[in-house]
């Protein structure tokens, strides 16, 4: 593989700064939990279902606990008490709550077991449930053994019809056309829903709702077609948003393989409250880590609003931060799919050289991470022929620099969410370029002192400078000042802040404790 000279001292500085920045985030969120974290714990314990108005039972329970000021001790402890108090199985209890027959705080008050009694009951339950996740993870590993997911870069395509059944049809067709990874795009603005919709859904805009049942349907369909093809087809959905950890939990339960998981994306592009989403992110990534799910971060999005050439270093800076934050959620490098993108103005002379510099630099900075490389979107137009060509150059940059996860560009990017043939053409495009240029990266060397090397040097230097600044100001302050994507977000603004609450001294999150313990001991 062609290699750039990278100033290792600067890289050490970057990682050092990222650690300081992450310390700041940790401090910012310490002693806090959120309604979504608590709902997640309930879900992981087995609470499910909706009431007649389609409100999910975890939401009802958490609301009840919150109103009764019980939530600060954690939903797990409260559920434990309720289960010990009542005569219910978990699912019976959930149904009773859904029917409005049980008001959780009342049930809890019925008896007063000792803290230790509850917590040991809860931890036992937690271990059982955690074992299920391990089993699912195990199942994935076995399937991957049996049906190899294929060589990298993996071909990643999206389905986004709004209707899970159409999605399935298209996902299966895509798998047959060579896709390694299927991402089901969510309906617009699902990230702003403070609950997870329920059941199979057929009405979404620009995407399909992420629901547990939709996950299950797609997983089953892909397992089937993958078995037939002798290839394990990976399934992706999104955590980011107001339900980060909940969706991570559903992903763990339904054997998703990758999840988009990035608080920064929520803050910048969905105006979600910082505190809320950093707390959520921490736990959701722990879940991803425990479930063996690769996360995808969203740095690529910065370049859709900011200038791709001038702001390239912001992507790298954010990657260092995201890496460190992910590490603190116990994610090993091979599960940290850092995002970046091929978004430089195609009219720029030698623009492709700049893209190569960026892709190669990132590749070398995060050698063990399966980088997720996003295609040209911003400069796509209705000229589908030219678009197809740009996607080809993107594929070329990827195979030369050895990217891990290739989100395929669509020639109709500027027009509509992909048609079935758009995907097929894109898969064909990538297969052709990857195969025809398979070892091109091995063959070439970057001239020292050349444009590519200089560009990489420049981006890394700017990255180090930016991280240094952020380390001083703190990440929150930096976000307020519009350091990323040219977007400013105030520390206390944004959606979902009402869901942040302080923990009592007795608070515990049994899953977080267990996941952390087990993951750290590995």
């Amino acid at each position: 593989m062609a290699e750039l000279a990278v100033d290792e001292e600067l890289v050490t500085d970057c990682r050092q700064a990222a650690a300081e920045i992450a310390d700041g985030v940790d401090k910012f969120i310490s002693g806090l939990t959120t309604t979504s974290v608590e709902r997640t714990v309930l879900r992981l314990l087995g609470v499910n279902g909706v009431d007649e108005e389609e409100v999910p039972v975890p939401n009802i329970m958490v609301r009840q606990l919150q109103e009764a000021e019980l939530l600060k001790e954690g939903s797990a402890h409260n559920l434990g008490r309720a289960l010990l108090a009542g005569n219910y199985e978990i699912d019976e209890l959930a149904e009773a709550v859904a029917r409005g027959e049980v008001f959780l705080p009342d049930l809890i008050k019925k008896c007063r077991p000792s803290r230790e009694e509850v917590s040991s009951f809860v931890r036992e339950l937690t271990e059982k449930k955690a074992r299920k996740i391990i089993n699912i993870r195990q199942e994935r590993e076995e399937l991957k053994q049996e049906l190899s997911p294929g060589p990298r870069p993996w071909l990643y395509v999206i389905v986004a019809t709004g209707n899970i059944y159409e999605d399935v049809r298209q996902a299966r067709a895509a798998a047959r056309q060579g896709a390694d990874i299927i991402a089901v795009i969510r309906s617009t603005a699902q990230s702003l829903l403070d609950y997870v919709p329920y059941g199979p859904t057929t009405e979404g805009f620009g995407g399909t709702y992420a629901t547990q049942e939709n996950f299950r349907i797609m997983r089953e369909a892909l397992d089937e077609v993958g078995g037939e093809l002798g290839r394990y087809i990976q399934l992706v959905n999104y955590c980011s948003g107001l339900c980060m950890p909940e969706i991570a939990a559903l992903g763990a339960l339904e054997r998703l393989d990758m999840m988009l998981n990035d608080a920064m994306y929520g803050i910048l592009f969905r105006d979600i409250n910082m505190k809320r989403t950093f707390i959520d992110q921490y736990f959701s990534r722990l879940i991803n880590a425990y479930a063996g799910i690769i996360i995808n971060t969203g740095e690529d999005n910065y370049l859709t609003t900011a200038d791709s050439l001038e702001e390239a270093h912001t992507v790298v800076a954010s990657q260092f931060i995201n890496e460190e934050l992910a590490r603190r959620s116990c994610l090993p490098p091979e599960l940290i799919g850092l995002g970046h993108a091929f978004e430089i103005d195609p009219e720029l002379e030698d623009g492709f050289l700049m893209e190569l510099a960026q892709a190669q630099l990132v590749r070398q900075l995060f050698p063990e991470s399966p980088l997720k490389y996003m295609p040209p979107t911003k400069y796509m137009t209705g000229d589908i022929f030219k678009g197809h060509l740009k996607d080809g150059m993107f594929n070329l940059a990827s195979i030369i620099t050895g990217q891990g996860i290739q989100l395929l560009g669509m020639l109709t990017e500027a027009i509509h969410t992909p048609f079935i043939q758009d995907r097929a053409l894109s898969l064909d495009n990538a297969r052709y370029i990857f195969n025809n240029c398979r070892n091109l990266g091995q063959e070439l060397e970057f001239k020292s002192g050349g444009k590519i090397q200089n560009r990489a040097d420049q981006v890394l230097a700017e990255t180090a400078k930016m991280l240094g600044k952020i380390a001083v100001k703190g990440l929150m302050q930096s976000l307020e000042e519009g350091f990323f994507a040219g977007i400013k977000r105030s520390r206390n603004g944004g959606k979902g802040s009402e869901g942040v609450l302080a923990c009592s001294r007795y608070y515990y999150n049994p899953f977080a404790d267990l996941f952390r313990k087990e993951l750290n001991s590995q």
Partner: protein, 271 residues
């Protein structure tokens, strides 16, 4: 002997000189047809997927379908199996239909696009106060880049956005704004114009959003208090008019186009 060289450059009758201009068959603008490589050959390219298995029957089906659309000499040049019982086809055919180009009139939002300076003096002269504008990406739409291009200082394609114009006072509400919030903000600041951006159009969600806005305004009886302007990559002035807006702006719109429209319309209305 006469100099035999006099004709060597051409070697042939000079009468053809410049002939290509005249000889080139002229387009009959009353009967315009697609052009492949010869006038009126009517050649068009198509591609589409059929939900039938790839094979000779799919090829025939594609051909028949195109013939049903009236195309002649249809040829399926590529057939690709997409799996799951889908076949993709690329085809060429001859379009026998022609259109009368002389009869085409395009309605566009602005009659005359003025420059930054011109707009400001126009507002000074004809309106005598700032034009008050509230903008938003409505519904669940979070694509702010297009609206920002029109409204933000920075602007677009080398042109300042409305914020920079002394003649405008602006409120950019950003993304995912409900129609209700937009209206209440417009009320609050006594806006002259609402600028709505709609980028997501899947399942015609933009039509739904835009119709709802007009209905809400009409229900409150305040439709006529505002210039209603919408923009987005899939929008045209025609569609906007159809939906009850005063103007629509499509891809590539620049701020001065919008500013000119607002200024001119408002001065008309205030007359």
């Amino acid at each position: 002997m006469r100099d035999p060289d006099s004709d060597i450059r051409s070697g042939q009758e000079r009468k053809n000189s410049g002939g290509w201009q005249e000889k080139s068959a002229d387009v009959d603008l009353k009967q315009v047809r697609p052009y492949g490589d010869t006038l009126n050959d009517g050649q068009i390219q198509l591609s589409f997927t059929l939900p039938v298995p790839a094979g000779p029957e799919a090829r025939a089906a594609g051909r028949i379908l195109m013939e049903k659309l009236g195309l002649k000499e249809v040829e399926v040049v590529h057939l690709k199996d997409l799996g799951e019982g889908f076949a993709f086809l690329i085809a060429y055919g001859r379009c026998p239909v022609s259109i009368d180009f002389t009869g085409i009139e395009v309605t566009q939002a602005t009659s005359k696009t003025m420059s930054f300076q011109e707009i400001n003096s126009f507002i000074d002269k004809h309106i005598g106060r700032q034009i008050r504008v509230v903008g938003a990406c409505t519904g669940t739409d979070a694509h702010t880049v297009g609206l920002d291009a029109i409204m933000n200082m920075k602007g677009y394609a080398g042109e300042y956005g409305l914020e920079r114009y002394p003649g405008f006072a602006t409120w950019n509400l950003g993304s995912q704004v409900s129609n209700e919030r937009l209206i209440s903000k417009a009320d609050e600041v006594q806006a002259d114009a609402l600028l709505v951006s709609q980028v997501v159009t899947q399942k015609n969600v933009h039509v739904k959003n835009l119709t709802e806005l007009v209905e809400l305004l009409e229900a409150e009886g305040i439709r006529d208090e505002f210039l209603l302007v919408v923009g987005g990559p899939r929008l045209s002035h025609e569609l906007a008019l159809e939906l009850g807006f005063d103007a629509g702006f499509g891809p590539g719109t620049t701020p001065p186009q919008v500013a000119s429209f607002l200024a001119q319309q408002l001065s008309e209305r205030e007359k």
